[in-house]
Amino acid sequence: MSNIIETEGLSKQYGNVYRVKDVDLSVPEGAIYGFLGPNGAGKSTTLKMILGLAKPTEGEIAVFGKRVNSKNRLENLKNVGSLIESPSYYGHLTGEENLRIFQTLRGVPKQNITEVLKIVRLENQQNKKVSQYSLGMKQRLGLASALLGYPRLLILDEPTNGLDPAGIQEMRELIQSLPQKFGMTVVVSSHLLSEIDQLATRVGIIREGELVYQDSLTKLHQYSKQHLAVRTMNNEVTKSFLSQKGVAWEAEDDYLIIPQMKDTMMAEISKALGQNNIGLVRIEERKKSLEDIFLELTGTAVSL
């Protein structure tokens, strides 16, 4: 599967501080790519650089296989829809007039306005001034603007920010339907792990400007598989004993963390420990939650 976005060593420096550092993003075509990270981690800056709204200090960006530069930027962006940070709108105009402005500038057919209004379920509010819209409606209007040209790639930065649970659910369903309905690739950023968990097929985790994880969500879930925590009267001797048996271990407080194994194997280990006069005092089954993994990767408490 080809990558629709590829960045190489993408960096952005403000003063002496790197807001984004050496980010190698790869977004496969047809994916819903979840770009996850705590607030201020550099998500918006990265997405803005991909859209050409911020100039990278270092690094390369390729969209649709073409290296992006100032000359071909807008040509490339014809196939990209975006909603960055908060929806862009003219409050004194109606929803339909707002879309007409972006439709005209994009040079796409007028009928697209009616279609995208239907997709985001705003057709009944199209003649209302946007200043009278709720935040959820404004977000949906922002999504409608992004969808106007039926782009191949949709970049949505925190699209559920500020929405109530019902609004979040609605937005999530909308986003999830896009790749199947229109063959779009979607990049969606969020600081909410639960949201990305329910949406994305591939995930990139950014921490203090650095990409600390990038792979499928399934693989991330594998990190959360069960393991065993054992405590003995002599953990030091147990460590060498486990190593001799070829069992991987990791010390954590008073425990030794070992992989999940068959009951027979565990029985054998406990018997052998007993024979060596090492008292086995605890065997616990533990499971790392996705939140724990996020915490390990980002060093910040997860927002749920």
Binding site: L51, L53, L74, Y90, G91, H92, E97, G107
Partner: protein
């Protein structure tokens, strides 16, 4: 470009920008009526010269206010709705800048034509002496537009770059007052200040006899170096404003 200008027109729907221009024209009309009301027949014989002297002076305040308000009204819709970050993914930033300038210029042209209409209308109604000085009136329109568009592009640049519209509005008002008071200073100093150019490019001079307290107006030669300088200012300000806007990260 025509699509971008057309969308600028749509964005101003309900913004009542023409109302601002109309109010300022009404102020100018009232002032002109008041200023000419106490003139006798002899003084009315110099009515055209009187207006062509007084209107540029009043323009030092009127036109910068119009320029500041128009530029601010055209730009604050973008700041309020955070639309630059979307627009700049659709059309080049320089086109946004140009479209705003062209549409803003229409308001400035409207104001200048409004002033011309006031002068001509009052001239005919009050039967100013001598033939209508069409050439000087055309010159007035041209010079007023050149200066006003230079001030407008300055205001537009600041309004597009700074989200807080109090900054350009204050600059516009302060500039206008400096322009007005600079008329009491030497021409060399006047030519350093954008807002003074209504006076620099004035086509009429005034003699005031201290003993008789009589006022006499006379035609003056065009200050071509002043015109050249303001055109240079226009090109420079447009260029710098555009570069800064294009480079600005949103």
């Amino acid at each position: 470009m025509s699509a971008a200008i057309g969308m600028e027109v749509l964005k101003t729907k309900g913004r009542k920008i023409w109302l601002v221009v109309a109010v300022m024209m009404a102020v100018q009309l009232l002032w002109a009526g008041w200023a000419i009301s106490n003139k006798d027949a002899n003084e009315l014989a110099q009515g055209w010269l009187f207006f062509l002297y007084q209107f540029p002076m009043l323009n030092c305040i009127i036109m910068p206010v119009i320029a500041a308000v128009v530029a601010s009204r055209l730009s604050d819709v973008e700041h309020q709705g955070q639309t630059f970050k979307l627009l700049e993914t659709i059309i080049p930033a320089q086109r946004i800048f140009a479209a705003k300038f062209i549409w803003g210029s229409i308001y400035m042209l409207g104001a200048a034509l409004g002033q011309l209409a006031i002068m001509i209308g009052m001239g005919f109604v009050l039967h100013f002496g001598g033939p209508v000085p069409w050439g000087a009136l055309a010159g007035y329109l041209f010079f007023t537009l050149v200066v006003s568009l230079t001030i407008y592009i300055f205001q537009q640049g600041v309004s597009m770059l700074v989200a807080n519209q109090m900054v350009p509005m204050t600059l516009g008002l302060v500039g206008g007052f400096i322009g007005l008071f600079s008329m009491f200073f030497p021409q060399g100093f006047q030519k350093l200040i954008l807002w003074s150019y209504y006076g620099v490019l004035m086509q009429v001079g005034m003699n005031w006899d201290e003993t008789t307290r009589a006022v006499d107006f006379y035609w003056t030669a065009t200050d071509w170096s002043g015109l050249g300088l303001i055109l240079v200012f226009f090109v420079l300000i447009y260029g710098i404003g555009r570069i800064l806007f294009v480079r600005k990260e949103v």
